[in-house]
Assembly symmetry: C2
Homo-oligomer: 374 residues x 2
Amino acid sequence: MGLSGGRVLTYWLTDDDPVARYPEPLLREFVEDYLAALGASADEARIVADGLVTASSWWHPGQGQGLEKLIRYARRIRNGGIVTRAEMARIHDSPASALIDAGKGFGYVSAHRAMAAATEKARGRGIAMVGVRNSNHFGVAGYHALHAARDGFIGLAMTNAGAEMAPWGSAMPVLGTNPWGLAVPRGGGHDPIVLDMALTQSGKGMIRWLARAGLPMPDNWALTAEGRRTTDPVAANDGPLLPVGDYKGYGLSLVTDVLCGVLTGSLFGRSVFQDDTHFDVGHVLIAIDPDCFMDRPTFNGRLARLIDEVKSAPPLDIRRPVMLPGEIEQRRAHTRFRDGIPVALTTVDQVAELGREVGLSFPDPVPDPLPNPD
Amino acid sequence: MGLSGGRVLTYWLTDDDPVARYPEPLLREFVEDYLAALGASADEARIVADGLVTASSWWHPGQGQGLEKLIRYARRIRNGGIVTRAEMARIHDSPASALIDAGKGFGYVSAHRAMAAATEKARGRGIAMVGVRNSNHFGVAGYHALHAARDGFIGLAMTNAGAEMAPWGSAMPVLGTNPWGLAVPRGGGHDPIVLDMALTQSGKGMIRWLARAGLPMPDNWALTAEGRRTTDPVAANDGPLLPVGDYKGYGLSLVTDVLCGVLTGSLFGRSVFQDDTHFDVGHVLIAIDPDCFMDRPTFNGRLARLIDEVKSAPPLDIRRPVMLPGEIEQRRAHTRFRDGIPVALTTVDQVAELGREVGLSFPDPVPDPLPNPD
């Protein structure tokens, strides 16, 4: 059994990538204040900060979706790629759907508002879908799905993205990783099920991570630029990412771009995400109201039975009990909200410098941080 | 590059599995007449026959979804597992959703009617979702999605199924292959995009096929019963199927069972599809009306541009141009509707015997059949 044996590889830290832990409220406050200083409204700052802090609490520092995203967002605010206080216009409105033009605003914000609109429309109707055009990087797909689940809805969030996946049988990237988030509310005070996934087997960030660490890569992650299978992450760096399930992930990614790109009026295919000052990304947010199908206690009880069946499946490794989608991240988040959120010091340096430019101080880390983030 | 190199393996015929070709109208008529003889209404017979003939036209004989399904359906009609002329009651009805109790009727029929209801509700509203409980094997997921696309809607069809997939990190099957069909209408007389896929990397039928042929299997298809990776299809026969994209496919399958099983009131998890006389399968059919987002000529034009980008990606193998999802099957179907639909002679023997029992003759094959089905 080689690396292609399907173990889930997780990000890890090397000795030259130290971190410090920061109290969650202070980190959140810093991000909000920084975005406000760049012109964001209080609502925009609150939504983006919540997204970045959530991502920082779910994953390992340096994975790319956490506080480090602030650096890119700042650049785009400054070059006009992201417009603060953007007017987000509802272009089409139907009983169970809408189309929003995000006006080049924050992707986190447009997707958040679109999911809020989707849940509002789905309530009592069963399902609703809101498309977003002319948007930006929307952050973590699972975060937007979670938004629906926290309000009691089953949520599905998807976005198109820059071309990194080739159509099956080619090595030329045409489609994006086009991530999906799905979330299911459980009731009873439990965290929702949250599935956050790209439609590629892995991402470029992870491949570069392995390259830096000098480690081999499973051979189903990416091809070389010439279209050969490889376990060498360096050789894969210029090649296309491979879809989940071979041609199946290609098909899912194509349909996702039809929904998020073609149908919303955004860019699609090879055009999307190419110009840092004009991303024109498209998203689709779908909410389902379980109350239109059965009463909530019955739904919660039946879901609990399915979850019991899943979680009582004997683990192959006794140290690794079966987890629900999102459970590892949510456990991590609970610990980190209590003990502090780890941020790579390289990120701290860059973000603190951004803060200084607008007269903000980066918060102090929690004393005596744990040596290794969980 | 080994077998795990990601080539799409297709079914093929061995010398001891000869076929004959039959005129499509006669095959269809035989299935309709046979089902009518067993008590099906004209509408039921028409829908099921169209599904089985479509599957026979898309795939190679013996793949399991074609005419050979009639044998199982006949058994279930006789043992009470499938009820002909079943009353299908609408239990819940909301503006953009409904829940149907299929009354143990044909899965093909309940799903067909549910998709018809979904498109009707989606028209002018944007999106609609119809759940089905107390149903049976619904046939080909992509067929039901295609139904929506032929009416101008983007369609998504999903079902739960018997437990063959283990939660990630276990080897005990709890979830099904839970197939999805997605279809997108293209306009201009083009066949829709049709993605038909299980959420597992492959299926038991394909693994048994390789076992019979004495061929190795990619190591990401299934585990042994003890949970080891294997390339031996015989060793994998009693083990769990592996999901697409590792933990991602597990998450998709879990959410699919939440929608199709938990939320509809059907069986779910390990219970579904266990009793041949009481399957109680659940389905979900979703339709999206593109007209609620942009006018149809604009949508068709934008989709054509995306398809151009996809299809103009240079193929890795010059003999295998990039295909859209479903394109291979649709090309095959056009040929077979003209030249005759291949049916394995072993299937012909069994189905002809069923026909004789009710006084029906199986049609004659087309003269001078081609030796190898395309």
